[in-house]
Structures are given as C-alpha cells and as structure tokens.
C-alpha cells in the first residue's frame, strides 16, 4: 500500500447520508460536493470532516463533474470561518465502479485531498475514498462514526 494511503476518512452518519443522498438527488447526472475539515500541523487532512457540502455540478453531465466555482468559493469561506480547510471532494459514478476514472486521476487538483467516489451502479450505493498523487491511486479507509 503506498505511504500516502492515509489518513482514515471519518464520516458521521449524517455526513454519510448527506453524501449518498446528494448523489441520488443528482441523477441522472453525476453529483458532487466538498468535504471541509481540519488540517494537521503538517498541513495534511486529519481525516475528520466538519461539514459535507453538496455543490452544483456545473457540467450537468452524467459523465463528468465540475464543482460550481460559486459553491467552491462559499465552501472556502465557510471553512475559513471555522478555522478549517477544504480537505476533499466527492462525486458519483452513475454506471461504473467507485474507483477513480482516468479523468479523475488526470484532473485531481490537490495531492493532499481525499477523493470520495460513490457508485450508484448497483442497488446499494458503494462509497470509497482515495488519495491521488502524481497519477498514483491509493485507497484510504473509511470509518462511519455512529455516534
């Protein structure tokens, strides 16, 4: 497993429901959203998430997504106001696996971020998380905090 396959992404049940719900709401298009959370002293996401923010898919496409830049700006401001940062992004794959596509790898914007992909291909949704660094994909564990 690559050394950057960390930290563990920790989602509350509510955040998990927000992410999965937004993906179904976005059908037939891909849905997307941003994860806000704290950074460690080294500037890396800790894996904790303070907010899962659904965003508009500016592409309005079943094949691609682009987080609407106004939603990104609002998320950056919300993160800053609580002393957090944007630590990742989620999007849905409506007909394929919960695994980064070549487009996801090519366009991965920040090597520190956590990339969550939700597959809606089967009856039950599948949520997985990754880091994408210099073209390399590493799956990171996801823990659900049932509080």
């Amino acid at each position: 497993m690559p050394a950057f396959a960390q930290p563990t992404l920790r989602l509350t049940e509510r955040q998990y429901a927000t992410i999965i719900g937004s993906c179904y709401d976005g059908l037939p298009d891909e849905a997307c959203g941003l994860l806000v959370g704290p950074l460690s002293a080294a500037g890396e996401p800790t894996g904790a998430v303070s907010e899962a923010r659904p965003c508009r898919n500016a592409d309005a496409s079943a094949r691609t997504y682009t987080v609407d830049s106004r939603d990104l700006l609002a998320a950056m401001r919300a993160a800053e106001s609580r002393g957090d940062e944007i630590v990742g992004v989620w999007h849905s794959h409506t007909h394929t696996d919960a695994y980064p596509s070549p487009t996801d790898v090519r366009q991965a914007v920040d090597p520190a971020w956590l990339y969550v992909i939700v597959s809606l291909r089967d009856l039950a949704p599948v949520l997985r998380a990754y880091r994408i660094r210099r073209g390399e994909i590493a799956e990171v564990p996801v823990e659900l905090d049932r509080g």
Binding site: Y65, S69, R70, L72, L73, M76, P102, D110, P111
Partner: protein, 91 residues
C-alpha cells in the same frame, strides 16, 4: 492600493505556505504581476502561455468571477479580496 489575495491549499507551497498575500495594484493583471514577482512558482497555475488567465483557475473579486467582469483588466479598489480557486473536476 492594497488587495488581499486568498490562495487555495494546493498553491500555498509555492507562496511560502501563506494562505493570504497582500499586494498593491489597480487591476487584477497588475496584482498578478506583483504576486508572480514575489512567487514565480505560481505562474503556471495562474496564467497560460499567452499570459491569459489559465483555464483551470477561477478568480473572484469579492463575489464576482472576473471572467464576467473585465478579466485581468478588472479594476480593483483598496480592500478588495481576490480569491483564487482551482477547477475541481473529474469524470
């Protein structure tokens, strides 16, 4: 006139780790010129080879996308905030 530039996490390594940088300039283009004099490593992230705004970056003056204002010629006033946003996209 001083303008505050907010950088996304991914660009901070090229700006000595700073999240915000204060730069003087009357237009976005002038502010970028001064920013890039200070932090030349940011050039490829902000501008394309022709000196235009890179297609994978969005710049907001307060609440407005400068592409819908006057682009790099957008005029700035003291205290304006420029937010630089990477394109977050995939497939």
């Amino acid at each position: 006139m001083a303008v505050e530039i907010k950088l996304p996490t991914v660009l901070r390594a090229q700006a000595d780790g700073q999240a915000t940088v204060a730069v003087d300039g009357a237009t976005v283009g002038e502010v970028f010129t001064k920013l890039l004099e200070q932090f030349p490593g940011l050039r490829g992230n902000l501008l394309d080879d022709a000196g235009g705004l890179h297609k994978f970056v969005n710049v907001y003056k307060d609440d407005d996308d400068i592409r819908y204002l006057d682009g790099l010629d957008t005029k700035l006033a003291d205290g304006d905030v420029l937010s630089i946003l990477p394109a977050v996209a995939g497939g």
